[in-house]
């Protein structure tokens, strides 16, 4: 039985491997009902694989999951009836028209889906081209037709994988408007993307994924301005300063920069207290400190941190 859970998606230790390759690695995900949830990560981080597992397109190797309060894959049919999804580039029968493709898609959904075909074509601005073959559509038009197909089932939950691919700036703007309207209606959106800007503009909750693992999860404001902070230190002899701060408590990462150090502080530590401790250590080591600037780590910094590390390891 479905329960009106606080979360529309709940996963626990979800794992998916392809041979030796682990694409989804013990993911614990909670998507709050009514949120616009960004699933952010670089290409190859395992975003699409997680979506495919959630939709029953491929089987998980381990772990449990619930969609709209129903256990998956046990109650897959009932759960997915109220889910609309685009996974990667939406596929269509190119020899059929847009309307015929929606007819084919509606046939696999509940009977009321057929009644929504004209309406969803209007919503995505394809009513005028609905009877043209899909082979004559641009990539952006196909993307919009994919969104129209998602809406056929009047979904409670929309899962969109890189939905703005192929859309021109006007189309992206229009898409954002659509998303805001969906959220206002109480639907939940899961948006998978490698584009930080897109996630920041659309979503209120975010999970950052890296090599199949969720490295951070929370509201956009929590992740952007939370206690997890950084301290920028301007000083002489950065190399010597690096040795001086070594061993200081509550540090997550220390990095030497051109004019000093950049220190990432653990989330549970007080940024001000750590700054004071570092200053004491540097002065005691005889290093002239000309700048000591605590700051909060923005979502962009988090994301760049991950992608930079990936670049170094590759």
């Amino acid at each position: 039985m479905a329960t009106q859970s606080e979360y529309v998606i709940e996963t626990e230790g979800l794992k998916k491997s392809f041979g030796e390759q682990v694409a989804v690695d013990g993911v614990d995900l909670r998507v709050p009902r009514g949120s616009a949830f960004g699933y952010l990560g670089p290409n190859g981080a395992g975003k699409t694989t997680l979506i495919r597992v959630l939709l029953g397109l491929t089987r998980p190797s381990a772990g449990t999951m619930r969609v709209l309060g129903r256990p998956m894959p046990k109650e897959r049919s009932q759960a997915l009836t109220h889910v609309g999804a685009i996974v990667e580039e939406p596929g269509f029968h190119k020899h059929l028209s847009g309307r015929e493709n929606l007819w084919v898609a509606a046939a696999a959904r509940e009977p009321t889906a057929h009644m929504r075909i004209d309406k969803v074509l209007e919503q995505v601005g394809l009513a005028d081209r609905a009877d043209d073959r899909v082979s004559t559509y641009s990539q952006g038009m196909r993307q919009r037709l994919g969104i129209a197909r998602c809406l056929l089932s009047d979904p409670e939950l929309l899962i969109l994988d890189e939905p703005t691919n192929g859309l021109d700036p006007g189309g992206i703007q229009e898409f954002r408007g659509l998303v805001r309207a969906w959220i206002a209606e109480g639907r939940t959106l899961v948006l998978s993307s490698h584009l930080l800007d897109e996630v920041e503009k659309i979503c209120d909750h975010v999970a950052i994924v890296d090599r199949g693992k969720i490295v951070a999860q929370g509201t956009l404001s929590e992740l952007s301005t939370g206690d997890d902070g950084a301290i920028t230190i301007g000083c002489d002899e950065p190399h010597k300063a690096l040795a001086a701060v070594d061993g200081a408590g509550s540090l997550r990462e220390v990095e030497e920069t051109a004019g000093g150090l950049r220190v990432l502080v653990k989330p549970d530590a007080s940024l001000e207290k750590v700054a004071a401790e570092l200053n004491t250590r540097l002065v005691a080591a005889g290093i002239a400190v000309h700048r000591l600037e605590p700051s909060h780590v923005s979502l962009e910094h988090r994301f760049l941190e991950i992608t930079r590390r990936l670049g170094e390891n590759s």
Binding site: L57, H95, A107, A108, S153, L178
Partner: protein
């Protein structure tokens, strides 16, 4: 612009019955690459055969007999039941088994939560609804022409017409389901068609002539199909004979094996 859509339960209108089967038919019916070869291999083949024989007859009536009659009807039946009709069934079955995969639509269909078994089973009536009308038209044409162009030749009996009609539709349906299953298993339309045409034409003919295989040849599709035909074997000395019940069992096994493999692959395939 609003996106609201009420969750009111709208009663299912009668025209939405068999929606999934009709969707399968729509995909095939609108594909030039499917219906044009199907039309040529069914109706086209009969038109060409009767036209050619009649032209020969008109040009030299002492040497060539009329195009109609039982003799030519049997030839038409052989073409429909064991050569061109089988290839048409293979083309339609291969398309039905692979078009959702090749167009990437399978992923969307699966993500609706609809049972994969249901998705697969809808392709059987959907594809037959495309194939069998062509077979029926071709057969009706052959039946009419066998009477109209009979001249002085004997015409088929009503019993033969009925048996032959059922035979043509049944053999096409059998090959269709085999092609559908193989297509769903392999996932490639080109590979499916190549395998089936290779088997239906040269491979099968070679195997049935290898006498050392003995009764194992009863398992060949052509042998079983030939046995249910209302016609005598074209070459009685070459024929591998078996009881009708055995031939029906052989056909059921062919359908069950390939239909089952296609269903299994559809259920297990990553979308």
């Amino acid at each position: 612009m609003t996106t609201s859509e009420s969750a009111v339960q709208i009663p299912k209108p009668p025209h939405l019955l068999f929606r999934m089967e009709r969707a399968e038919l729509l995909k095939l019916r609108k594909s030039l690459g499917v219906w044009v070869p199907t039309a040529i291999l069914t109706v086209g083949v009969i038109v060409i055969m009767y036209t050619a024989v009649e032209l020969f007859h008109v040009s030299n009536s002492t040497k060539y007999g009329p195009a109609g009659g039982t003799v030519n009807f049997e030839r038409a039946l052989f073409l429909m039941g064991q050569i061109a009709g089988m290839i048409a069934a293979a083309l339609v079955g291969a398309a039905a088994g692979t078009h959702d995969l090749s167009s990437n639509v399978f992923r969307d269909l699966v993500s609706t939560g609809r049972s994969r078994t249901r998705l697969y089973l809808a392709r059987i009536p959907g594809g037959l609804a495309m194939l069998l009308p062509f077979m029926a038209v071709a057969y009706a044409l052959a039946a009419v022409l066998s009477v109209v162009l009979a001249g002085g030749l004997a015409t088929p009996s009503v019993t033969l017409f009925v048996k032959a009609g059922l035979y043509v539709l049944f053999s096409a349906s059998v090959v269709y389901v085999i092609a559908l299953g193989l297509g769903s298993l392999v996932g490639s339309r080109a590979a499916t068609i190549s395998i089936l045409i290779a088997y239906l034409l040269p491979v099968q003919a070679i195997l049935r002539n290898i006498t050392v295989l003995g009764r194992a040849r009863d398992g060949l599709l052509s042998v079983a199909v030939e046995r249910i035909s209302p016609l005598p074997p074209p070459d009685p000395h070459d024929a591998v004979s078996m009881p009708l019940t055995t031939s029906l069992i052989v056909l059921v096994i062919w359908v069950a094996v390939f239909g089952g493999l296609g269903l299994w692959r559809t259920q297990k395939r990553d979308a």
